[in-house]
Amino acid sequence: MQSLIEISQLSKKYKDAEMYSLHPLDLSIQEGEIYGLLGPNGAGKTTLISMLCGLIKPTSGSFTIRQLSYAKNAFDIKKIIGVVPQEYALYPTLTARENLLYFGSMYGLKNKHLKDSVDESLAYLGLIKFADKKIETFSGGMKRRVNLIAGILHHPKVLFLDEPTVGVDVQSKNAIIDYLKLLNTQGTTIIYTSHHLTEAQDFCTQIAILDRGKIYAQGTPSNLIANVPEARNLEDVFISLTGKELRDDV
């Protein structure tokens, strides 16, 4: 497989922070992967995704997406990526359809193509009958599904998802995961963060375990489990690598 994202010595130290949120790291993500970034709170997952999405600038190092860099090709990169933030990034007083038509138009989608894309996605995720209801009336699971659709209407080559299934019921979670698998089969490379290790074990083709701004291990879920003695699942690997210490931080 062809390398889609190349990260070289990428680091981030926030202004006034004592420590690096992300120590210089190298990473290569292949096209077609479902790449899971797993780690406890404060591990640096969201910081890494935020840099790859162009939301924050790195302190040092560089990365390319399809050989394109933000410094020279920000507009081209933004056209081929999709972003699904952790918070419901939707206008609560607009309907699901109004939100999606607006965000889709921001990617240059128009007219019938845009409308069809919105309706197909809403139908697939079981939301078509609620399309004209305001987002503020939706449950958490419904909002998560609309949040996901807003990031994939333009069929991105790379999709970044930050905790896409947090706080949703099992049905919504399954619907989201199934839809992501479908997108992956259609050619979208997925990079996602999660705390749900069982979900990640079943869903991801590659996983990196981060803690305190460093990558502790990476590989396929089965390889990671095999490399840790007596580990039966990804959770055992995770505890073995990151420890049982609580990660409360302010």
Binding site: P85, A89, Y91, F103
Partner: protein
Amino acid sequence: MMSVKKEFLLLRRDFGGLVILFIMPLVLIITVTLIQDSTFKKVSDSKIPILLVDADRGTVSQSILKNLEGSNAFSIVTQINNTPVTEEVAQEAVLKGKYQMAIIIPENLSKDLQLKIDQNVEKILGSFGLSDTLAKKTEPKIISEKEVKLYFDPAVQPTFKNAVMSSIDKMIAQIESSSIYATFKDQLGDENSNTFEQKSFITFKEIMPRANNQEIIPNSVQHNVPAWSLFAIFFIVIPLSINIVKEKTQGTFVRLRTNPVSNAVVLAGKTITYLIICMIQFYMMIAVAIFLFPHLGLPPLNVAGNLTLLSIVALFAGFAAIGFGILLGTVAKTQEQSAPFGATSVIILAALGGVWVPVFAMPKIMQFFARISPMNWGLNGFYDVFLRNAGLFDILPEIALLFLFFVITISIALMYEKKKRTV
């Protein structure tokens, strides 16, 4: 286009925001104009009751009383509960705010004034050898100066106080001079002739500017409508800054920043939407001033073919307000920061701009700040068109400054946003 549509949808679903944007400015302009209308009228509809203690009971006090009653501005109260008012009672009533003012005319004012004038006239005529040589020479009696006391309610504003004091001063000076003339006539034995014409020799005539051969007579409507329209246009700062802060807190801003659309395009969507709102607000206020004000007893607004120029000033004032709103929304982290700061800063800008107190009446340092206030540029633009019959060329400096303010505030907002991304 979709950004503009989205902004309108968001506004349409925000009832509170719509009330602030469209209803409140109308309520404001009607209320303020009705209140301020009386200060522009030469004859007020309502009379202010004032206490009068007349210890003189002579020609001077009668003359003061007649003048005050004739002014139509005051109603004279000489008794409270059927008891004649004394100085002590008057002082207490005014201090407690029951009356705004009391005039105390001292004892023997008429008698002593006449005596003083007689002495002075006698002295003058004597120096010309015209005094009565047969009359017995008497030593002039020493007459102490008389004092008319004025008590004001402490809550009375200085402008009202000064206006009343100056008109009473003028009234007393007139009484004094007419007494002097009368005494001269009497001394010269010229009672039936018109030797002393007492009509003022110097008079004032206010020349009003003319537009299209019609005199422009400033009234409360022509002063208030531009000033408060501008105030309302700038109040757009509040909903606009809240709109931007909401996008940040809702997370939609993150999505907008990862879209292949520049921040400038997103801001352009907001600018176009809120400019349209500004213009609708403006035309609503103009319509109210033209069509509703006459039904409220106010003079109608006369736009007299100036609507295009007025619209241009309103448009550029809208640009300045939107630039400020976008900057505030970009810098503020919460609605609790943006809303009170926006409201307070608009009031400060209005005060600096001369909405309440004219700039020329401000202290030097405040005049400097007024000159760099966008509200002042807008107000001058409106007054130039409304009251000075200015053309497009005349208002160019003001609209250029307003647009420059927009460019600067938007540039700072964009730079701030870019810098924040490097955290």
